[in-house]
Amino acid sequence: MEVRYQVIVLGGGPAGLNAAKYAANAGYEVGLIDAGTRLGGQYWRHTGREEFDQSVHHNFDQGSLLMDAVLANPRITVHSETNIWSASIINDEVVLRTNNGAFITQRLILATGAYDRSLPFPGWDIPGVMTPGAAQSLLKGHGVLVGKRIVVAGTGPFLLPVATGLSSHGASVVGLLEASSKYSWAKNLLELLRNPAKALEGIGYLLALRGRKVEMRFRQAIVAAHASADGSLESVTIANLDSEWKIRSTYKLSCDVAAVGWGFTADTAIAYSLGLALDVDASGSISVVVDENQRARQPNAAIAIYAAGELTGIGGADLALVEGAIAGLAIAGSAQDLKTLKKRRKKLLRFAQALTKVYPVASGWKSWLSEDTTICRCEEISYSDINEAREEFDASDARTIKLLTRCGMGLCQGRICGRTIADLMNSTPQERISSASRPILSPITLGEVAQEGLL
């Protein structure tokens, strides 16, 4: 099967939904491709049971309206549960091969979002240790609590809604640990107060948690996890950290789930496949470079590729919505004035940049690793495997380490450990960008690849 659309939008989260809506309203036939079973992305992941969805979301009405508008729009065709396995440019067209056939366009909007950034620590591969996003997606998407006694840890504003959601649906949140200092907020107060709605949202979570006797502890992190006899998580070691995140003292806490996350990583693999210009910030985060209309840079003038949302820099759902709207209007060449949208984007961008300053990941996490700590979960490569390759062969770059140890060569294709390896090996920005290369974007059977009629 081959389908052509005037505009294709990748991703059914806030950015993609708005992009599709605005491009369709400007008169274009839009194909919206999403991997999920329901629209909404990670942010508006939902069960379809109204009462429950309202109870786990901060502002589900907004999402619900937008999803309904997209589904009801006759110019938008939604392709759910569609996984792209390759993206390439052939004869001045973008060709996306998926498990549901090939999709072709000359106007593409990428809104593929982000996933939790993980850092390795001893025991992070024990069943029960997971990302906050995993705990959140099971709750929001299925109403399932991942455990009874849960520690939420890491850094970033996302920990708050996750802890609140788990706590208010019956889990006992026995620890809420933020590795950053409580004073880092104060240092960036002015910028943060530019978005009072977000500040209030955060305070709301804190108050709700306080009502359930959950206090956020700062400068603390889970530095080891321990399994019971059956192999499941039983307890964690928590450390008080110094300003570099080195361990000062530790204590133990029993729990059945540790939800640990360190901000987000955008999935830039499709962007890389299509040859878009990418950038790396000081934290090692890769993003798509866009102009003031959200247009990405790539060499083929016959094709217009835009990007919106977390892919262009981690910034949250509000920013994603604005960027999606701008991308949808701009790709359609709409005459509508973008000035107001751009002004709002500017304000939200400054807030997002201030947030990244509040929640930096300090390098002391490397001191939490022990020789037998797993680094690559897929290929079961330990920290000592990497150190041996470094010492024995003088391997000094991430690519050589990968080829010598198979670290990052498993099923996830380095999505989880790639950034860790880059950090451990002090990769250059160019090396980090090259490591985004994933010619096969998601596994696909050879039988499907071999199908006749594919381009």
């Binding site: 062969f393 010619p439 596994p443 050879l446 039988g447 594919l454 381009l455």
Partner: protein, 382 residues
């Protein structure tokens, strides 16, 4: 190390590494240079083939046979550690038995252990092979290694035995005095040595030009498909006899024939395509599709196995498919060891030994004349 080693090897791929080891073992102080990291070019973009089965009788086959044994000697010398395995090759024919039987007969005359096998023997060697394939030959000498680890281990031995490896040093100029090589200028310093070896693989032509020489080596692009880890169901290197013809073909257009094998880590590797499109970046998914199709024709179960990765390599291609091993006809002291196309891993230790013997004016296992760099200038002047 001093700025004046006995020999400088340009290129830290498998050919450069084995050349450095051969010279080091002969008592020379060797410096290996690479603009990237070790094995960062074609070496890491292959399957680690050490094949005798895919060659027609001739000089290259003689080299391959010696080189195959040299791999096992090398493993003994440096203590292994690079997954060297005599897994054996199975070549199948879908176009009747005559051409394959002719090939094995000629190969046996050249000293290869090439065994014509019955269909039941074929299916016993590879139980998951398509039952529509019933003509095959078995080559117990065919072997495989993990080329990245092999290069790393060999270079480690070079260093332990007094040599040096400097990566991240791009060669900017190769100077000569009255036609005799004098020094190599890199982005990380200058070195001089009486012997400079160009082992830059696909980029050997560019290195030759820096020295004022000519070497007609061009890239021939190939893709390899990697499956997700699966239980072992493919036990040898299995390929179609079309591959032998493709290897020998000089056609610039795409040629592909499935070469399928399992690896120790559980993945299945599927090659091999060849096309001359320059250093063209990106992935051509139409080639990926053809390879997947051809692999499923050999092993129908592969239709349900997931593809996880694709990688691309640029093989160093010489117009007559033979490697270039010997002294440059114009610049004295400049030696080439390059142009091994898709057989560089297999031919590396043999080529290294042949070049070392030639440089040191020792008797070697074969005559190096067929690989002489001067063969190209003879052709152009005639």
């Amino acid at each position: 190390m001093s700025q004046s080693p006995d020999a400088i090897v340009i290129g830290a791929g498998i050919v450069g590494a084995t050349t450095a080891l051969a010279l080091t073992n002969a008592g020379l102080k060797v410096l290996v240079l690479d603009r990237g990291s070790i094995a960062s070019g074609t070496t890491s973009a292959g399957e680690g083939n050490i094949l005798v089965s895919d060659k027609e009788p001739g000089a290259e086959l003689d080299l391959a046979l010696r080189s195959r044994d040299a791999w096992f000697e090398l493993a003994d010398d440096i203590g292994g550690g690079f997954e060297l395995e005599a897994k054996g090759g199975v070549v199948v024919s879908s176009s009747g038995s005559e051409s394959l039987r002719n090939l094995t007969s000629k190969q046996r005359d050249s000293g290869i252990d090439a065994r014509d096998i019955s269909s039941s023997e074929l299916w016993e060697l590879e139980p998951h092979l398509s039952r529509s394939i019933n003509v095959g030959a078995y080559y117990p000498q065919d072997a495989q290694c993990q080329p990245m680890l092999a290069t790393a281990r060999v270079l480690q031995a070079v260093k332990q035995r007094g040599g040096d490896v400097v990566t991240g040093s791009e060669v900017l100029a190769i100077e000569n005095r009255h036609g005799v090589v004098s020094s190599v200028v890199t982005s990380r310093g200058s070195y001089s040595a009486p012997v400079v070896i160009n082992a830059a693989g696909t980029w050997a032509g560019a290195i030759a030009r820096l020295a004022g020489a000519e070497l007609p080596i061009a890239p021939r692009r190939g893709f390899i498909l990697v499956s997700v880890p699966t239980p072992h169901r493919i036990f040898h290197k299995v390929y179609s006899s079309d591959y032998v013809a493709n290897v020998a073909s000089g056609d610039a257009d795409l040629q592909s024939s499935a070469v399928v094998e399992g690896t120790q880590s559980g993945t299945i590797l599927i090659g091999a395509s060849r096309e001359r499109v320059g250093f063209k970046e990106g992935i051509d998914y139409s080639v990926v599709r053809i390879l997947a199709h051809q692999a499923i024709e050999l092993f129908p179960f592969l239709a349900n196995v997931q593809l996880m990765r694709v990688y691309r390599g640029f093989r160093p291609y010489a117009p007559d498919h033979l490697p270039v091993i010997g002294q440059d006809p114009i610049i004295k002291g400049l030696w080439h060891n390059a142009g091994h196309e898709g057989a560089g891993i297999g031919l590396a230790p043999g080529s290294a030994q042949l070049l070392a013997d030639t440089i040191l004016e020792r008797h070697s296992f074969m005559n190096a004349a067929p690989f002489s760099p001067s063969r190209f200038s003879t052709v152009s002047s005639s």
